[in-house]
């Protein structure tokens, strides 16, 4: 009978070895202790449940907190058991161990593999196909990242200038922003989450913007540059605030896209009103069309559309609103300072 317990810091190296042996040889979490600690260290423990058979780790279930609230929203991460060791339902046991012991309001995370859909169905969770929005730069004549046949048609943007999108150099600027709104969306992410996730990442450099109107921050937008073959794109990976300001956000982002020569900006998300998004200037990717390709993978680069799936608790009072970098997503696959270094 395997022992199931929370991981301790002393388990860090064995867990990295587990990742190498049972997830994928050379997986970044098997070689980057910094990233492993960043993703899972919580004081003197690690946010993972593990199953041990003697000294062998035979299963893990990780989780991440979206806020520092006493009862935060959680994302599951790194769910893996070794075939043939322990109970055939060891994975469920590990998950149950966490669900029963970690106070939480709601479970939600993107990045679910299609083969896991029946598991989440049995668990009563929602299966979500995330939307992929894009705004192409009409000034870029040669596309090396995306393939958008009619990219020369600039997005229809809000004509009347509204609030301004400005870069945020320090998280402190955002300390007073009401991250934990009561609009019913989940997961709820707080200032502490944003500051740590995007201003202290050990590998990725994020660009954070805020939409400002008369000194008041209306929205916070987190982006990351990706590159391939000397070209680059701007990915929106997180969004805070009222989406009704999206038109001003897109207008501001598009200025950045054009001024800095990005091929396009894109945003993988769910829970944002498609009509509002398209009115704001985003074009929604049709996965059935082959003439419009906006890649998902850059490390290594793969020029094809990829559907991103998410799972979320079925909760009567919470509407899932997920962004690309939620949970353990937007994680590096290779040890480079940023994806642009892969461009050559």
């Amino acid at each position: 009978m395997p022992e199931i317990r929370f991981a301790r810091l002393a388990d860090l190296r064995p867990l990295m070895a587990f990742m190498d042996a049972h997830w994928r040889a050379g997986h970044i979490l098997s070689v980057s202790e910094d990233l492993f600690r960043f993703d899972f260290q919580d004081g003197d423990r690690l946010n993972l449940a593990l199953a041990c058979d003697g000294s062998d780790i035979i299963g893990i279930f990780g989780f991440m907190r979206y806020s520092s609230l006493d009862c935060p929203d959680l994302a599951g991460s790194l769910w893996k058991v070794v075939d043939g060791r322990g109970s055939p339902m060891l994975g469920l046991q590990l998950r149950r161990f966490v669900v029963d012991r970690v106070a939480h309001r709601y479970f939600a995370a993107p990045g679910a593999g299609l083969q896991t859909r029946p598991i989440y169905r049995v668990l009563g969770m929602q299966w979500i196909e995330m939307d992929h929005y894009v705004a192409a730069n009409p000034d870029v004549r040669e596309q090396r990242i995306c393939r958008i046949a009619d990219a020369t048609a600039a997005p229809t943007l809000a004509v009347e200038p509204g609030a301004d999108l400005e870069p945020v150099a320090s998280a402190d600027v955002l300390a007073d922003f009401p991250f934990l709104d009561d609009s019913g969306g989940g997961p709820q992410k707080d200032f502490a989450y944003l500051r740590r996730r995007f201003f202290a990442h050990p590998i990725y450099a994020y660009r954070v913007f805020r939409l400002v109107d008369h000194g008041e921050t209306l929205c916070v937008v987190v982006c990351r540059e990706v590159g391939h073959d000397g070209h680059k794109a701007l990915r929106v990976v997180d969004f805070y605030g009222d989406p009704r300001h999206m038109a001003d956000v897109v207008r501001g982002l598009f200025q950045v896209v054009v001024a800095e020569g990005f091929e396009y900006a894109d945003f993988v998300c769910s829970g944002f009103d498609p009509v509002l998004m398209q009115r704001a200037g985003w074009r929604r990717l049709d996965f059935d069309r082959q003439d419009v390709v906006v890649p998902n993978y850059f490390e290594p680069f793969v020029r094809k559309n990829v559907r991103v799936y998410a799972v979320a608790d079925t909760h009567p009072g919470i509407r899932p609103r997920l962004c690309r970098a939620d949970g353990d997503q937007d994680r590096p696959n290779v040890l480079r300072s940023d994806a642009l270094s892969l461009a050559s």
Partner: protein
Amino acid sequence: MTGAAAEFIVRHIADRRGVSTEEIDCQADMFETGYIDSLGVFNMIVLLEEEFGVRFSDQELIDPALYTVTSLASSIARKSANGDA
């Protein structure tokens, strides 16, 4: 209902393994015999839930008492009788 559920499970296993239904031992542990694996069982549970209008919790699925065709089919029959949808 037990008969119908057992028949459904046996047919499901036999189809996936490419064997005849007679070869399935309804008293044997479905995992130990290799009738089903820890991912495949969820596909089967989804089908059973749809076919018989019942629901299983993760707590129930963790219980090894449900790992034979007979015990799983009996559980479905009990749930159906109790209106445990």
